[in-house]
Structure formats: C-alpha cells, structure tokens
Symmetry: D2
Subunit: 275 residues, 4 copies
Amino acid sequence: MANSIVELSTFLHRRGCTTLVEQATAAALEGACGSPASYAEIGRRADLAVVLGGDGSMLNAARHLAEHGVPLVGINQGRLGFMTDISRQDMLRRIDDLLEGRYRPERRSLMLARILRDGACVFQTPALNDVVVSKGEVGRMIEFELRIDDEFVYNQRSDGLIVSTPTGSTAYALSANGPILHPAVAGIAIVPLCPHTLSARPVTICDDSVIEITLAHPHEARVRGDGQTHFDLRPGDCVRVSRAPGALVLLHPPGYSYFAMLREKLRWSEAPSNQ
Amino acid sequence: MANSIVELSTFLHRRGCTTLVEQATAAALEGACGSPASYAEIGRRADLAVVLGGDGSMLNAARHLAEHGVPLVGINQGRLGFMTDISRQDMLRRIDDLLEGRYRPERRSLMLARILRDGACVFQTPALNDVVVSKGEVGRMIEFELRIDDEFVYNQRSDGLIVSTPTGSTAYALSANGPILHPAVAGIAIVPLCPHTLSARPVTICDDSVIEITLAHPHEARVRGDGQTHFDLRPGDCVRVSRAPGALVLLHPPGYSYFAMLREKLRWSEAPSNQ
Amino acid sequence: MANSIVELSTFLHRRGCTTLVEQATAAALEGACGSPASYAEIGRRADLAVVLGGDGSMLNAARHLAEHGVPLVGINQGRLGFMTDISRQDMLRRIDDLLEGRYRPERRSLMLARILRDGACVFQTPALNDVVVSKGEVGRMIEFELRIDDEFVYNQRSDGLIVSTPTGSTAYALSANGPILHPAVAGIAIVPLCPHTLSARPVTICDDSVIEITLAHPHEARVRGDGQTHFDLRPGDCVRVSRAPGALVLLHPPGYSYFAMLREKLRWSEAPSNQ
Amino acid sequence: MANSIVELSTFLHRRGCTTLVEQATAAALEGACGSPASYAEIGRRADLAVVLGGDGSMLNAARHLAEHGVPLVGINQGRLGFMTDISRQDMLRRIDDLLEGRYRPERRSLMLARILRDGACVFQTPALNDVVVSKGEVGRMIEFELRIDDEFVYNQRSDGLIVSTPTGSTAYALSANGPILHPAVAGIAIVPLCPHTLSARPVTICDDSVIEITLAHPHEARVRGDGQTHFDLRPGDCVRVSRAPGALVLLHPPGYSYFAMLREKLRWSEAPSNQ
C-alpha cells in the first residue's frame, strides 16, 4: 500500500494538488509522502478524500469524514469492493478522470445511533452501513421492544436486529435475508436476526424515521456500528437510531453501474451454468 | 351493501352534502339513492369518494379516480382490509370525523404499465398495487430481460416478475417473498416469481425509475394490473412501467396505525403462543 | 443426436450387446440402428437403459421404465444435467465403465398421483420430480385442504402446492424456496407456491406418507406430473399422492459427487468473487 | 413445581410404582418425596422418566437418559412445549393413560458432536436438537470447511452453521430459515447462519452421515449442544457430528398430533384474520 500512496501522492503533486495523509497511516509510512493530518483537519481542508483499501477502510473513513462533506473515492488494492470502484491498476487514469470532472457524485445517508440509559446518552456512533443490536458475549437470544417515530411496532425475541441503510443493504443485512435497497431509495431496512416467530419479516421505512430499540429485562446485548464500533448494552437501555446530518458523497468513475456491481460482487441473479 | 349506501347517503344529505353514486352500482340499486355518475364525473365533481367494499373495490376505484385527485376512504362490510380502515358499524361516526377534518391524508403512488409492440403502445393500465408479468395459459416458465432506466439489469428465467408499489408490497409481492415497504418510502419493489437461480433476490429501486421487461422469444406471458386488468403478451413485447402522474390520497381516521394494520392483517411478527 | 445413437449402438454391438431403440425415436431415425421397441418391451427385456438427452428426457424415460426396474444412465448432448452425469464426449469411455461394473447405483423413489372425483380415480400419473397443483388457465389463487395420512394439516390459499421427491428438490420446488433433500433421504417435501400467510413454511415428511390435497369450492386448478403430464381439476377433486411401487435405479459413473453437482449446476453456496 | 412432584409421586405410589427423583431436584425439594438418584441410576432402574418443566428440561433429561433407553414424557407447568405434551392440569389423567398403555411411542435420534484437535477428541456432547458452531465472544464472522462422509461440500463464511435433527428443526434452525423435518424423517438439516453468499441454502442429508466442520485459520468459534453445553474452538479444530447410538423414546398421550403442535406452537401456516 505504501507504494500506491507514494505513487498517487507524486501524481497529485505533479497535477498541482496539495496532499494530506491521515496521521496514523502517515506514521506507518514513516513520513514518506504528504503532510500528516487528523481526520478533522482532512475534513476541514480537503476537497477530495481518496481511500486506498477495501470496504472496511471506506466505512471507517466515511464515518470520520461524512459530517465535513468531503467527497470520497475508493481504490481497491485487491478485488473491487461495494464502494471501492477503482482498481489499483486504473488508479492514475481514474483519478485523472475525477480531477477533470469526469465522475458521477452519489449521496449516501448515514445514521447516528445513540444509547440512552436513564435518560442520558452514554454512547453514540455514526454508521454508513448498519447499526446492529445483537446478543453479546453470553450468546443467548435477546428480547426487545421496537418503536418507530414513537409508535409501538413489536416485541421480539431473536438473535438481534439490524438497522441498515441502502448502502448496508448489500452487507450484513443481506446475509440475514434483508431487502436490497438501491442507494437512491430514501429508506432504512429493519431486519431481524433469527427471529423466534415465523411471521417476522423485514420492513423498510422512510429514512427520516426515528427507530428505538429498548432491551427488555434481564437481557444484555451489544450494539455495533458498521461492525467497527461497539458498546455493551444493559437491560433497559434504548438504542435510538436516526439519520445523521449531512451525507456522504461518493464519486463514481465513468461507466460505474450499481446493477453491474450487484452482479459482479454478489453474483446476484446470475443464471446457473446450465442455462 | 344497499342498506349501507342508503344509510350513508341519507346521513350525508342531512349534513348538506350532495352525493353521486357510481353508475353501475346505482343501476344495481335501482335508483334507491343519489344521482348516478360515471367515474369520470365523480372524478370531476366529488370532494371525497367513499368506497363500500373490500380492498378489491378500493383498487378498482383508485385506478379510476387517482388521476382526478379525489381523496378516497374505504368502509369495510366484513373484516377490515389493508386500505379499508373503517368498519361498517363505525361508518357514520368516522364519516363525521372526516367531514369535521379529523383525518390524516396519505399519498400513495400509482404506476402506469404500457405494453410496447413494434414501437407502438398496444395496451396500458394503471396499477395501485402491482404490475405482474407471469406465465400465461400455457403455464410454462418465461424468460425475459429486465432494464431499469435503460440500464441492463438481468436476464431471468422464472414464473414471472412482480413490480410492486409500497401499497402492493403487503399483497401478492409479499407472498413471493418481496420486501414490506412502508407507504412513505418512495420505492418500487421488483420481485421474481420462482426464479431459476439461487442468487436471485428482490431489489427495491426509486419510484421515479422506468422499468422495462422484454419477453424473450418464443415465450408468451400475461401482464396484470392489480390482478384486475390483464393483457396477453407475445414474444418480444416490452412492458414499460413508470410512476403514474398524480397520486392517490387516502384519508385515515384518527387512531390509524400502519404497523398495527400489519400486525392485525398479516399477524406480522406476532409471537407464537408459547412466548 | 442421430450420430450419437449410431455411434453408441455400434459400440454396444461390438461389445456383444443387443440394442433396442425406443420406437418413436427409432421412427425419427428411420431405422438407422437397433430394433424399435416400446417402453414396455424395453422394460421387459433391457438390462440397462441409456438416455441421450437432458433432464427432461430422463424424467420421461424414468416415468415409463421405473416400474420395470431397468437401471438408467443419462448422456447429455450439451451441458450436464442433474441426472445426466455423462457428457457426450466421454460417452464410450463411461459406457465401458458401466459394462465393466465400474459404477455406483442409486435408488430414487417415484410418486404416484391419483385424482379422485366422486370416489373414482379419473386420472393418474407417476412423477419422479414433483406433483404440482396450481392455478390453471384462469390464473387466480386457489384454496385447498391438505391432509397427511388422513390427518388434517392446513387449509391454504396460495398459487398452489408442490409435492416433491428428493430428486425434484433441486428443480421447481427449489425455485419456490423448498428444501434441498439429498437423494438418500427418504422424504417428501411439501412446498407452498406464494402462500397467503407469512407463517407458511415447507415441511418434509416421510416418503411413505399419503398426501391428499382437496380443492375447495369453487376453485379450479391444474395438476402436473414432472411438468410433463397434466390434468384439470374441478372443485372438490382430491389429488392423492403416495410413493410409487418400485424405484428408479440411476447408475453413476466413477467420480460422481452429489455435492459437486449442486455446486456446478446451481452455483450452490459458491462464494462471490470478492472472497 | 414442588407441589406437582409431590402430587405425582403420591399418585404413583398409590398405583404401586416406585419413584426416583433426580438428585439435584431432590436436594432442592429437601427430601419431600421419592428416593434421590443420579441420572445414571435413573437410567439403569427406571421404566419411565417423567419430566416436569419445559422443552429445556426435556433436552437436558434427554441428553442424560437417551443412551439408557428410558422413555420420556414431559409435563408442562405453563404452556405446552414442542416436546412436553401434557399440561399440568391433565397430569394425573395422562399419566394414568400411560400406565394403562394408552400412548404412542416415538423414536427421536440424537447426535454426538466430538471436537478433534491434533487428532485427539478434546470435548464431546450429545444433542437432541442441534449442534451449533458459531462466532464466539469476539463476535466476528467465521470461515470453515464442511465435509460430509469425507467428501468436500463447501467453504463458507458466515455467522456459523447449525446441524439439526428433525426434533431441532422447529427450534433454532427454523429461525435461521432451516427446513421443518417431521420426526419420522431420518434426516439431518445443515443450516447456515447469515451466510456471505446469496446462493447458500440449507441441505438435508441422511442421518447416518458423518459431518465435519473444520475451522479455518485464524478463526475462533464456539460449539454448542442444544444451546445448553458449549466448548470454545481454536483455529483448525474439527467438529465431527454423527448419529448417537440408541435413540430417545418419547411417549405421546392419546390425541397427540405433530401438525396440530406445529399450528399451535408456531402458528404455522395459520391464515391471517382477514381470510
């Protein structure tokens, strides 16, 4: 990866761009290129954030940068990801496309999860993919109440609940039989994990809804944001999920197609070989 | 039903309202009440359309009246329906609520399906619930190409495809394992019927998309609107589905809850008796 | 195909075998090879039936020959099928394997469906894959009662019901979300088609059970055996499905693997390309 | 429960039966009735084991007693369970039925899971419902290889894998979308938990198969038997599951119906209220 960063950095300098390197990455590189900067500084100063890595790196950068409105583009070292559209070998050509204005921007909503305990917020995390409340270390099923916009929806016994954006709908939620939502749909999918009732089905609601998951006594659970942040819940804790202010802007190179990505990454709807 | 119409008509007259009765219904009633009128005339003149019947009657009235912008309310003779919120015994009290302004309006999108053959439109139908392309009389699986906003999505072999609004997402599409979409979500679900590939999954797209289903040779199929209108397709025919102009406005009485309706009508997420 | 039959026939003669050719096929070939024979005669005289064709040809041959106990082997002209293990180019080598005793026999149960009307059997068909009761030409959902071993199971409204052997569990039943049953499991899967209740799930029962599907008034439906035979049902008709006497014996060449077939034919459990 | 035990014990004494009380229970009751005995002693001496409690108590007793061949019957204090057919209020009448020979015995297979590490068995547990290999405390997805009867089946990334008997098919496996298997089917269902591939589906195999799940490096996981026993797996560990010798015999009172139990306990295939 160091090579890629140096190569990209050199290229950008030649194009007259100033580059900042996220400080932890810069430290790992031992100052080989660019000025080290915190996410906050990158957020304030950068016009474009280029992420070299996989979808996990994109999720991490997105949670740090979304509130600053810096557009993101992802370059994948290995195989392409759901959000990393540019392959390592096409890097310079595609970045050139972006600098010349040849790209399509796409807005992606983030969610903000806040944990309320005795009326106070004891933890919060943004999430680009999903907020997952699930059984914690003990590994037993949990029981909780779901409310949406202050209306009772259901009590559920299950392994947990996934609250997913359209971006997250092709990630963990999909493995739990959640719906695929195109990023242009302003919806949030609520997907049970191994629910203890045959009539449970995911429901997709408007993304300006407020979702509250309150853990029943004596259940303990864990809440995760994008599978990267987590907090342990006590009985009675409430996880309140709402749309985060602002939005992430992804820049797609020319030729990007959401449905092609579904087919390639998920083999979605691909016919078996005998057809 | 005749009794209900007479009772409602009398009540409305006392409240100073003029009533029109859909002409086929009026003929069946032999002129017992109100002035007979075509759907078109009702559409032009009425401030409110009251449907006495089940969801099927609502679908039918909605397809006729949606373009005119007349709000609808449904009164159910038997059990409540997905769209008929008012029970027969509460009829007068609830209509009184509406006349006094105690209601919540809700917009529901309709779709328009047009059949294109050799470049010409040979049939069209609006649909509030769903447009279904499926195997016709022959009863064999069909093969077709799906395009969305002129982009190739997939070729599929299956029993057919359901294109469903949020309103239709709790109807036929749900029985084919489609996603439940809250009416406030501006989405359209595309749900395969018994697809011949394990990796097929429904996808939900933005409701301003244009969906094109082109039947492969030599397959024949049938297209249906809301299960109430139909047209037989020939090989090569294209079914183009887009959002219909305007929208249906449903009036809900005080206390209406979408999630409560899901629980009552579908036993959605209801816990088994041993919990 | 004519070439393949001639080539195979010549090869078998050299090996000292007598060959019979199914009479309709023989007529199409205009007597180029072998003695024409009815399925019944083949059933009585043959030690091995070689089917050149796809799974559809195998299903057809199986329904005709299973009662006679003649083992079957399938040779596929194009791509391999679920039951046709031998490719055209390996034909002679694989038939040689069989003649030398290098094969693995596998028993597959068939079902027998009988239509009872007013106490009399008005139609019957064997089935190797499935017996499907589904909406007929009218194309509306149907309603029926299911009984197993004379015990009430449920009343259902749906598009229909699939009764499937393990052999059929990777065919139509799978597209309706039915379970995959290994051929060694002595079970029958009962799989609803688009059921009108969220809590419907397929159930797998012992294959010596007797299954009765009685059509409610005023519903009409069609019953199909392996998608190749059919009969139109009237309201009140009962479809009684039980295991057929005897069993089909398939001969598999060395190296055959059921799980490999699932992976190749269905892309079953195949990891997406990003893994 | 103490009251129930005393009442049952008194009743059995009057009928001339000798009663043993499981020793931990006896200790809790402080000697109120019957002779304390270990499970092993109960296994050797008893003609019938009566379990007062829910399905969890049945699972526990079954794992201890199955190898001894003592038939079990369950009495449920609260609502009936999947395996506890007799309600508290019917207790004496139903036990009288059993003593008079009015019952239907049903055999249920158990599985035995052995954990192999460097060739040695480091843990083993029987299971009546299921053997579950799933992500442990760390809570990340796991990766493993599945082999059946020494044949490669697939590599999978998922939250885990459920190996379930027909008895367990209405328990945890069902919440993970596994198939319902009637107890008379000699099958084992293999059900992925949130698999990372759209084409994953459960498969049901013959219950005399040997199933091996080998954890890939560097993954850690936990294996559970019936959700009641557990062991932490290291990378490379193999979980080998096979049918346990012997079988559990359940005694059902007159009138017991498996399908009625499915309908009552799971609301299986129950029509919504509008039908």
